[in-house]
Amino acid sequence: MADDLLLHEPFENPARQRVAVPFGMWAFLTTEILFFAGIFLFYAHSRWNGGQAFLEGAKESAFWYGTINTAILMTSSLAMAIAERANRLSVMPLVRAMLWLTILLGTVFLVVKGLEYHKDVSEHLVPGPHFKLEHGPAEQFWAFYWTATGVHAVHLTIGIGAVMRLAWIDWRSDLSRRDTLIEATALYLHLVDIIWLTLYPLLYLAGRQ
């Protein structure tokens, strides 16, 4: 890794800036974890209180959609990790390929999620007067499902946007001098994946033997 990092305003030496950007991102990721902690607390509370009825709701979730999506998202995460490493070694063609693979897989995830939403809506799994199951904890599970997956999808969309920005920079100028940026983007994307890995068992494995 060469120290030809593109310096920006307050920094006077590259070593400092190299640490500062990921440091700022880690600080931001802390806030993200606390953000999701709020909704996980809601899950814990309503599962504890809702008992069996809550799990009856959980059994309705689309296991295969969720599982396939997990695999897709993990692969996209891997691609991002490879892109980040390749950039440090300045293997630009590989970086380019992996960035686009990340974007592609992320988008596939969103499409699969959309199909799953379509299935859920047609099965009356939206809380409200036409809800499929009994009013109560099962509905709370689905309230969690819609809120959590929705917020996660927004995060992933932002993540895809950030990777697209990297691809754009790569196209217009020299990405290899911006390795703190690519590292920060990778960190963010990995967090989005970790959130999904937490959501996956809560949404698709709960209540199943």
Binding site: H8, E9, P10, F11, E12, R16, V19, A20, F23, G24, A27, F28, T30, T31, E32, L34, F35, F36, A37, G38, I39, L41, F42, H45, S46, N49, G50, P127, G128, H135, G136, P137, E139, Q140, W142, A143, F144, W146, T147, V151
Partner: protein, 555 residues
């Protein structure tokens, strides 16, 4: 050659000050200079401060009589909700960090800018968007949930614009988070050579601990508001008791943010007051390390006391005891700070400039606010006092008496540095004194009527409380004057005030080692630090510092 003459020569030879570095609107709205962003924030929060103030005026006018004569019940509910939302999220939380903090932190650390200048500008735009959304909620009819957004009232029963207001506050949270992340990264990464942690001025420590609290607490508020939005907008049963949801879950999430938020408001005030008192008493701070650790301890324990807002909410008796215990414990570091400020005065060279009057006023009001906190930390007494005017008075003593006094003190203290002009000392001293008396006149009666059982958020009330309400409203008139008055003489000084020298107070901080107002790069040469802050003491100081400490200061 006198310092003033040097400054004049410098100004001609070197780069222009940050104020002259581009004067069109674009150079302000697209600036990444932390000093200009500080000014942008200052203008925005001043607007919100007076907007919240108008709501407070309406409330106090309406409460002069026990009957409903000025406002209807719904208008009254909207007025106090507006007052709370605006003052907490659009004034108090951003007040000191985003204005004085933005301006001074890089100067105190001896660097050119914050670590992420563009993120800093973005945070202001996020703030503006959140503010506009909240203003829009106000224009189309207002909100009546109180600033606390308690469910199920906010999600299922209120027929006002809860969604707009909640989204406004949600968005403004990200501006807090951005500022917090930026300050933390800056403090870690960009301290000048030789500026170790234990040489940081207390204001920088205050900014650092405040940022920690911002970063760790705000996201929880964001999620709780998002859940409120999901329940209200899409009918998802989250807190709805009919579906097995728990309204107390919302309260836990909300206070997990909103109690630490009090420390977001008051920790920066500690920083400001420490700077002013040391400079105006020309004395090293008493017990520097204790002051630092006290702030860190307050920031940490501040996260563990939220349950004391819920003693009568139906949470378990065991939880009440634990939260009560921690609330008593957090009184200890607060007391340390008050004693140490007092100790700093001992053997000083005290000058009663306007910033010093504000700072001493802060110590007094914060002491009263803190002591009444002990009343509320005792569970049996809190059962009687909570949700009455006693609580209203208590948190106003901390957040308004404390935080706002410190904000005004800091504003005056650094005014010459920020604007390059001197203000009229006499008029400012008068404002500081009238704020102290007006404040006590407004809020002390509220302790008494709270004890007598006057519940908060009451539009009409039994007649026996009227004398106290009248007293409070009269005080509020004095207070309103004290808040508006600085607008005139500070505004006047911008145009007609005498030009300020680089270091008009003879202070020792790094921010005073550069020109007033500073150039865009902050320092003409990169500073190096060789000693701790507050070198006001004669013994270890150089001879001319002693001389400077002893000679009478011009106002």
């Amino acid at each position: 050659m006198s310092t003033r003459a040097t400054a004049l020569v410098d100004r001609e030879l070197r780069s222009p000050s940050y104020l002259q570095n581009g004067t069109d609107l674009r150079s302000w709205l697209l600036t990444t200079d932390h000093k200009r962003i500080g000014i942008l924030y200052a203008l925005s929060i001043t607007f919100f401060f007076f907007l919240g103030g108008i709501a407070a005026t309406l409330i106090r006018m309406d409460l002069v009589t026990p009957a409903a004569d000025l406002l209807t019940n719904d208008q009254y509910n909207r007025a106090f909700t507006l007052h709370g939302i605006i003052m907490v999220w659009f004034f108090l939380v951003p007040s000191i960090p985003t204005t004085l903090g933005n301006f001074l932190l890089p100067l105190m650390l001896g660097t050119k800018d914050l670590a992420f200048p563009r993120l800093n500008l973005l945070s202001w735009y996020i703030f503006v968007v959140g503010g506009l959304l909240t203003l829009f909620a106000l224009v189309v009819g207002g909100v009546d949930t109180g600033w606390t957004f308690y469910t199920p009232f906010s999600t299922l029963y209120s027929n006002s614009h809860v969604l707009l207001a909640a989204m406004g506050v949600f968005i403004v949270g990200f501006s807090s988070i951005a500022t917090g992340v930026n300050f933390i990264a800056t403090t870690h990464m960009l301290r000048a050579k030789g500026l170790t942690w234990m040489r940081l001025p207390l204001f920088a420590w205050a900014m650092y601990t405040t940022s920690l609290v911002m970063v760790l607490a705000t996201p929880v508020l964001s999620m709780s508001l998002l859940l409120v939005t999901a329940e209200r907008a899409f009918g998802l049963p989250i807190f709805d008791p009919r579906a097995g949801g728990d309204p107390l879950l919302f309260q836990h999430l909300f206070w997990f943010y909103s109690h630490p938020a009090v420390y977001i408001m008051v920790l920066p005030a500690f920083g400001v007051v420490s700077e002013i008192i040391t400079c105006e008493a020309r004395r090293r701070i008493f017990g520097y390390q204790f002051m630092v650790y006290a702030m860190v301890v307050i920031a940490v324990i501040g996260f563990m006391v939220w349950g004391h807002h819920m003693f009568v909410s139906g949470q378990s008796a065991f939880a009440n005891l634990a939260f009560s215990f921690l609330s008593f414990v957090i009184a200890v570091p607060s007391a340390i700070k008050v004693f140490n400020w007092t100790g700093t005065l001992y053997r000083g060279q005290i000058r009663f400039s306007a910033p010093m009057l504000y700072a001493l006023g802060f110590v007094g009001l914060f002491t009263i606010g803190g002591l009444t906190g002990l009343f509320l930390a005792s569970v049996p007494l809190d059962v009687h006092l909570t949700d009455t005017y006693f609580v209203v008075a208590h948190f106003h003593y901390i957040m308004v008496g404390g935080s706002v006094s410190a904000f005004f003190g800091g504003l005056h203290f650094w005014w010459p540095k920020i604007t390059g002009r001197l203000y009229s000392e006499r008029l400012a001293q008068f404002a500081a004194l009238s704020m102290f008396f007006g404040f006590n006149f407004t809020f002390f009666p509220q302790f008494v009527m709270g004890w007598m059982g006057m519940p908060r958020r009451y539009h009409v009330y039994p007649p026996e409380f009227q004398p106290w309400h009248v007293m409070s409203s009269v005080g509020a008139a004095v207070l309103a004057f004290a808040y508006a008055w600085p607008l005139f003489y500070l505004g006047w000084s911008l145009f007609k005030g005498e030009k300020a020298p680089p270091n008009p107070h003879g202070a020792t901080g790094l921010e005073w080692q550069t020109r007033s107002p500073p150039p865009k790069e902050n320092f003409d040469s990169t500073p190096e630090v060789t000693a701790g802050p507050y070198k006001y003491h004669p013994r270890e100081s150089t001879p001319d510092e002693v001389e400077q400490a002893q000679k009478p200061q011009e106002p």
